[in-house]
Symmetry: none
Subunit: 225 residues, 2 copies
DNA sequence: TTTTTGTTTATAAATATTTTATAATTGTAT
DNA sequence: ATACAATTATAAAATATTTATAAACAAAAA
């Protein structure tokens, strides 16, 4: 669950933003003043900040400039004036964006999502979206499979099957189980389609030396890693 | 052309990495010691750093901690021990990833690619209004698209669709997802409009040699970059 | 109103999936 | 070892699905 801090002095706008974001699964907090906003931003953990530039006391620029000395969080600036945009650019670093008022709440939500996703890629130390074994690499974001650096084309079902096996390496799955998992519990059809698909995936990913998918006789298939 | 700095004391490993990366179009530099690595990282411009954690003198953690005070560059840590992973997490910020030895050179290349692409997107979003791929250039400030220097006219929806895909290159999006993103979460309508718009954008931006938007059968569309 | 843009629909084309048939392999019993 | 039954591999055919394309229709803008 992602948390968003809204720094906005106009209560009705702040609540509109909050409502839309909450409908879309974000947790929100509102700060009505720049100083309290900065304080919250520093002491709590937010994934993104939406800040109005025009604020009483400490304005949006000051808040973010100050915040940036300590933390790196994506920020969406809200401004009524186009002239502020250049100033936002000038801030440099950070995954920043801006929107001019009036804006569509849906667009705001879309941007929040996009930024959190992108920044998430950066901050989260994760094994990103890659699965690999030997010279085989699967990029689930791109929906792309390469063998020895060369892209190979898999159909949707072939891809699903390979990803499932590769995500659960060194475990043997029966054809029935594979059918249920990939085709869906309620799917009707013969398990022999699994055999055929396994065969096609093998044709495409096997190299001279590497045989990833092993047949366990009378039992099923296993992806070795 | 992207530049990669390899900080690794084992020459044979470093050269293996370099060879694989150079085959894939990256320019590499090798530093055998933490101190020289840090120096290079600070004084030259690299798009990504691959660093071994165990290094003589100044170890990988120290190098990156020091570097981070000045620069924000994606880093891939190499470690032989799983116990290092928590420590990497602790570093917090930065586009970090890690791989445990022994690793597949192909996987390394894939990760390097993924990180450079993604970090590029992030910095591009905030720093510049230009997106370009091949002879296609999108100036989001001017709201103008050119192919081979010649401006082409896109309608509003066509433009939104292209920009979204181009801002998120090398990722596959389903028609439903695209519809949600471009038309709005609550929009009603058929996803076939997406198909038609993709088609129209293609007609306008495709050249003889370049096909930017790829169809991933049964899955969706992907903007290749 | 006229023009442009966006959406829906219908059909053709491309591609994927499933089924089927047959061959090859493996395991087991003789 | 040999024969047999069971299981899987392989190839091809049949069927189904998905996407491309064009054109009609609707909505919005000029």
């Amino acid at each position: 669950m992602s948390r968003v801090l809204i720094i906005e002095d106009d209560t009705s706008i702040a609540e509109l933003e909050r409502d839309y974001l909450e409908i879309n699964g974000f947790e929100c907090e509102i700060a009505a003043r720049g100083t309290t906003g900065l304080e919250k931003a520093l002491n709590e953990n937010f994934d993104l900040i939406i800040i109005d530039i025009m604020l009483p006391g400490m304005d949006g620029f000051e808040v973010i400039t100050e915040l940036r000395k300590k933390k790196q969080i994506p920020v969406i600036f809200l401004s009524a004036r186009n002239s502020d945009i250049d100033k936002i650019r000038g801030l440099g670093l950070g995954a920043d964006d801006y929107m001019t008022k009036p804006f569509s709440p849906n667009e705001l939500v879309a941007r929040v999502k996009a930024h959190i996703e992108r920044f998430g890629i950066l901050t989260r130390v994760s094994k990103s979206s890659l699965i690999s074994a030997g010279s085989l690499v699967i990029d689930t974001d791109a929906h792309k499979v390469t063998v020895g650096g060369k892209e190979i084309q898999l159909t949707a079902k072939e891809y699903d099957l390979l990803v499932f096996l590769a995500e659960n390496p060194n475990r043997t799955f029966s054809k029935e189980k594979l059918f249920d998992r990939i085709w869906g519990m309620d799917a009707i059809g013969d398990v022999s389609t699994v055999t055929v698909h396994i065969q096609r995936v093998r044709e495409k990913i096997n190299t001279e030396t590497e045989k990833y998918i092993e047949t366990i006789w009378g039992v099923g298939y296993r992806f070795n890693m």
